[in-house]
Amino acid sequence: MRVPAFAADVFAPGHRRKLWWGLWSGYGVAAAFLALAALGVTLGVVPFRWAYVALVGLKVATNSASWWALKRDRFVFETSSLNLVADVLAMTGAIYWTGGVLSPLLPIYAIEITVIALLTNLAVTVRAAGLVLVVYGAMVVATALGEIGRLPPPVALAGGVTPGYLVAHAAFTVFVLAAPTYFASRILVELRAKQRALERTNEALMEAGRNKSQFMANVTHELRTPIHGICGLTDLVETGIYGPVTEEQRDAQRSIKQSALSLLRMIDDLLELARADAGRLEPTVGPVDPREVVQASVDAVRWMRGTKDVELRVEIDDELPTVESDARYLKQIVLNLVTNAVKFTSEGGHVTVRARGEPGALVLEVEDDGPGIAEAERESIFDPFHQVDGSPEREYGGVGLGLALVARLADALGARVEVDSELGHGATFRVRLAAPR
């Protein structure tokens, strides 16, 4: 049987501890009842009845069925439900055999409902209370109609409030007070411990948030400083002030510098992304020359190809609208798109960068003939650290920052990024900027 939705959380694996707790307490309560009955019989408050033994026996039997189920993790819901029904029946029996509506045992229902409320959820508790109402009501009605015999309450059997009656009454009162108090306090202690743990976590998170900005500033500084050293010293060696340099060495020096600069750009992208996610991108808007943006980005990418045989084409319309935007962000967008396109284009392929005017808009476009992007991937490619093939054996390197940054920068500029692609037939990324006429 499937656990019904209203009780799903009660029977979830993380909740098992409470079920075990309810189980052991069931044995405890059964033992307490047996002791109370024995005390009552000894003091002559109630006569010995096999019914008492049968009621305790019923509870022990269903409780043991629950124990068996919990241990094997099978039929847990079924046996627990049976256990609950047996509780209600046993309590109603105890109330019936101690005088029905006149029985002093009525508060034991409250104990049961309190324990269930603490160990389960509202839906289960309400159903249990409903069951109590129905079973108790049936007993009362059956007694009133004379279907079952009316039995005298202990006070009548004892012949008034005798010392013996008072002792039994005191023992019962202690039981009625102690059981809910114990349960409630145990649960509260546990809740408070959880709350303290949550508060500590929360504080740690807030602290981490505060530290993050400072950390970012420090990281920037610490990472940029050595790159500054690499670039500067390579320049120095190249100029020959440390001695004569051959043409091959000069070439290698340039490559060292280019690599350092590419590392620098990655750091800048990462930081820009962190700023974007903290909602702190503040574009500096001014008139932008689209030709300069495209040319600067393409020039920066040219050397990055290294020995990779990818043809970079630039197509710029003669008539272009001027736009008000942030030139630095736009360059970063185009640069990332072109870098991406070159990365995913195989040897002998082409990457075309276009700038053209449309009515009311400037369009910057980067087209490649790489593997293309499947329909299902079009959205997620803009998530940070996402790559279409994220497996360790993937074909393409990189950390997957480029497009995430493009999306955020474009967003900060109020531009739209569109992707056209067909699997196996390349991809076109298009940035559309509103241009006043």
Binding site: A217, H228, G229, I230, C231, G232, D235, T239, I241
Partner: protein, 125 residues
């Protein structure tokens, strides 16, 4: 020939600037902390100062402020430089408008640009 004082705590950056400027005929001395930078300025009387912002004990902005308070400091061109990338526009404006520095360089910068700035600021060189 301009005599240059570089205040920079990163030894590689300091060596790089010193070697480069010296090779181009501008004798360069290096100080590695803020207070040392201020005392070197008083002792060496350089024609130009290049000051890193993130310095131990006293940061570059403070060094700049102290130097520019003196009569000689007002006549000495001072370039601030930093690898702290965040709000570089804001920092540049602060350096030039409030501290009266003659320039703000974001690391890594091209050494040839630095040389051009130095020779522009000390024309007698």
């Amino acid at each position: 020939m301009a005599r240059v004082l570089v205040v920079e705590d990163d030894p590689i950056s300091a060596k790089m600037i010193r070697d480069f400027l010296s090779a181009h005929g501008h004798p360069t001395v290096v100080a590695t902390t803020g207070p040392e930078g201020v005392s070197s300025f008083v002792r060496e009387e350089p024609d130009l100062m290049i000051v890193d912002v993130a310095l131990p004990k006293k940061n570059g902005f403070e060094v700049c402020f102290e130097v520019k308070r003196t009569e000689r400091g007002q006549r000495t061109p001072l370039l601030l430089m930093s690898a702290v990338y965040r709000d570089s526009d804001h920092a540049a404006r602060y350096a030039q408008d409030d501290l009266r520095a003659q320039g703000y360089l974001v690391k890594p910068f091209d050494l040839r640009d630095l040389l051009a700035r130095v020779e522009e600021l000390v024309p007698a060189a």
